[in-house]
Symmetry: C2
Subunit: 334 residues, 2 copies
DNA sequence: ATATAGCGCTAAATCGATTTTGCAAAAACG
DNA sequence: CGTTTTTGCAAAATCGATTTAGCGCTATAT
């Protein structure tokens, strides 16, 4: 690995001159064009690439973006990460991926490590307990953009699907199909997005003048073991006997399908099904399951764009707290 | 962010003393215990953490491991990444994840970027075209460990499932269940692992004195569009009419299930099914699909261990090219 | 009597870049 | 011709750490 020092020595000039030329400041520094050319040519031929660590130490920038999620598994994340990486590459940035594994204590360590590596900006799927640290980051001029969820009390930029309208679209679809006794299965996470989906369900039902009460909603524990969740859904459905059900998350939909299978019911004749957030399985299942698909790519793209705006790499995006419409994919389950 | 310089100034000692103490070299450098304590206490109280970029520039180490894959989607990768991150955390290392997106030209750039960030070691799911660069890395004392596949011509360490034995186990399971006309569906990738699975099929069939010929194997194009692959599998099965089929990859299994559904055949009465590599869907499908599960966690753990050995962090692992047995998960499809 | 080793710490070199300042020589000016 | 400006580059400071060499003195060994 050749360094700038060696180039300078080989050409008999100072490292300052080499640095200036290679950073395109030859005009500004009035470097002789012939000399500049010679330096550029030599750098190219010798395969010189600046040591990023040294650059980072001096400039405080790293050309690295931290992507923080609680868990890497899951199609949502996979698709998100792919798009983000693709987008960031356009700007010459690399992704440093970290998962916090639902572990609050790890969050602090993690963010500190990234900060000490001069990570320039952060894309974050928020989890409880990181609010403060993320605000701290922004105040230290390390922009943060949230995805998938947000903190209601902060002004941190975010991009996510419109949970309210998405759920409403699903419910309206069921109503239009003639369902009258609609149930809603969600989990007990106290995050904003779940509350919004719930609100979408309740308000849509009310404004359609349909019956909706406490027993229209099942909130299963989030961290529950799979079998348990399936059983609780089955028990709920058996008691409630709805003619349609909407699941508020894709994993709930998957479990729900198993519950329905266990009950021996047939979709859509015995029960109509819609799920918020799509899942690979829904395309393969018999019958295929109607779902509200999250615009994952749009979310990722916009998040990157906002981040780049904050970092001064791109034109600043003024609308910093954005909800994007999801798309109802009509299949065979209604 | 307080720096070592500020600590030294505040305590009226030299930077070197602070550095020695905080790096646990107080004994070696015979630093006065009282002074050492004072320094440690002050560092703790002031929340000092060394700037990793500066450390990296000086030492040439970064405490970062690069995880290079071609594509982040897919359950295999997700599970792998999770375990790797967990293991590396034990050693105080962070993962820098990068995907090459099946793009040969990106590989070079990517590896160079990582190298310039002083990435200490590499965990790689190999793809064509990275052979040379990875060898280059090892010769520059940046250890590389491969997972999932390997390069037959290099001595790079690797950890992967025993493809031959795994396939053989699946085929034997079918034979034991009474199947006589067994088909094998693989893809046309010219990577070692697929060749091994194929060999596992053919040799097991032969040694069981069962008929096996050209028409026992379907090699579908890898990059094919989903619908096309499904159709080609369906056409093949319809013509061949086997009483059992083994799919050589989980995505082939998923497509295969669709093909079988399209043919209107019932599993396992019309056709027995085994798949190499498990998939979430296989547990949910009716009937559940028997599969040879890759020991993903074991692979990840061992790969990390070998890497740490090469980096001198742990005792060197002598067995550097390892194949781990997969596990046949008996379900309802045979 | 001289050489060596130990003490506890500091000064300075170093990693590889960027950036500010400085300084001759050449050019322009009066 | 003497002075100021401009030109074109070099020297040095800087980022924040690690690490080697050495300071000046005393105690022990040769």
């Amino acid at each position: 690995m050749i360094s700038i020092k060696e180039i300078a020595a080989k050409l008999g000039v100072s490292i300052a001159t080499v640095s200036s030329v290679l950073n395109g400041k030859e005009k500004e520094r009035r470097i002789n064009a012939a000399l500049a050319d010679k330096i550029k040519r030599f750098a190219l031929e010798s395969g010189y690439h600046p040591n990023q660590v040294a650059v980072s130490l001096r400039t405080g920038k790293s050309r690295i973006i931290g992507l923080i999620v609680d868990n890497i598994s899951g199609a949502f994340f996979a698709s998100l990460a792919n798009t983000i990486e693709k987008e960031l590459e356009k700007y010459g940035y690399t992704v440093l991926y970290c998962s916090t594994g639902n572990n609050e204590s790890k969050v602090e360590t993690l963010i500190r490590i990234l900060f000490q590596h001069n990570v320039d900006g952060y894309l974050v799927i928020p989890a409880a307990g990181m609010e403060e640290q993320l605000s701290e980051l922004t105040s230290r001029k390390r922009p943060v953009v949230l995805m998938d969820s947000y903190f209601p009390d902060t002004k941190l930029p975010y991009v996510l699907v419109n949970n309210y309208e998405g759920t409403a679209a699903g419910i309206k679809h069921l109503i239009k199909a003639g369902c009258r006794n609609i149930a809603f299965v969600c989990n007990d996470i106290s995050l904003v997005q779940m509350a919004e989906r719930r609100r979408g369900f309740v308000e849509t039902m009310i404004s359609a003048k349909m019956q909706v009460g406490e027993d229209s909603i099942l909130a299963t524990p989030y961290m529950g073991e799979k079998g348990q969740v399936v059983r609780s859904i089955a028990a709920y459905l058996k008691k409630k006997r709805p003619d349609a059900v909407m699941f508020a998350a894709n994993y709930l939909g998957v479990y729900g399908l198993e519950a329905i299978k266990k009950l021996g019911w047939t979709i859509p004749s015995d029960i109509g099904v819609v799920c918020f957030d799509d899942h690979e399985l829904f395309q393969i299942n018999t019958p295929e399951i109607t779902a509200v698909k999250q615009p994952v790519e749009d979310i990722a793209q916009l998040a990157v764009k906002i981040l780049m705006g904050e970092m001064g790499i791109e034109k600043k995006v003024t609308e910093q707290q954005v909800e994007i419409m999801g798309k109802l994919i009509r299949r065979k389950s209604v």
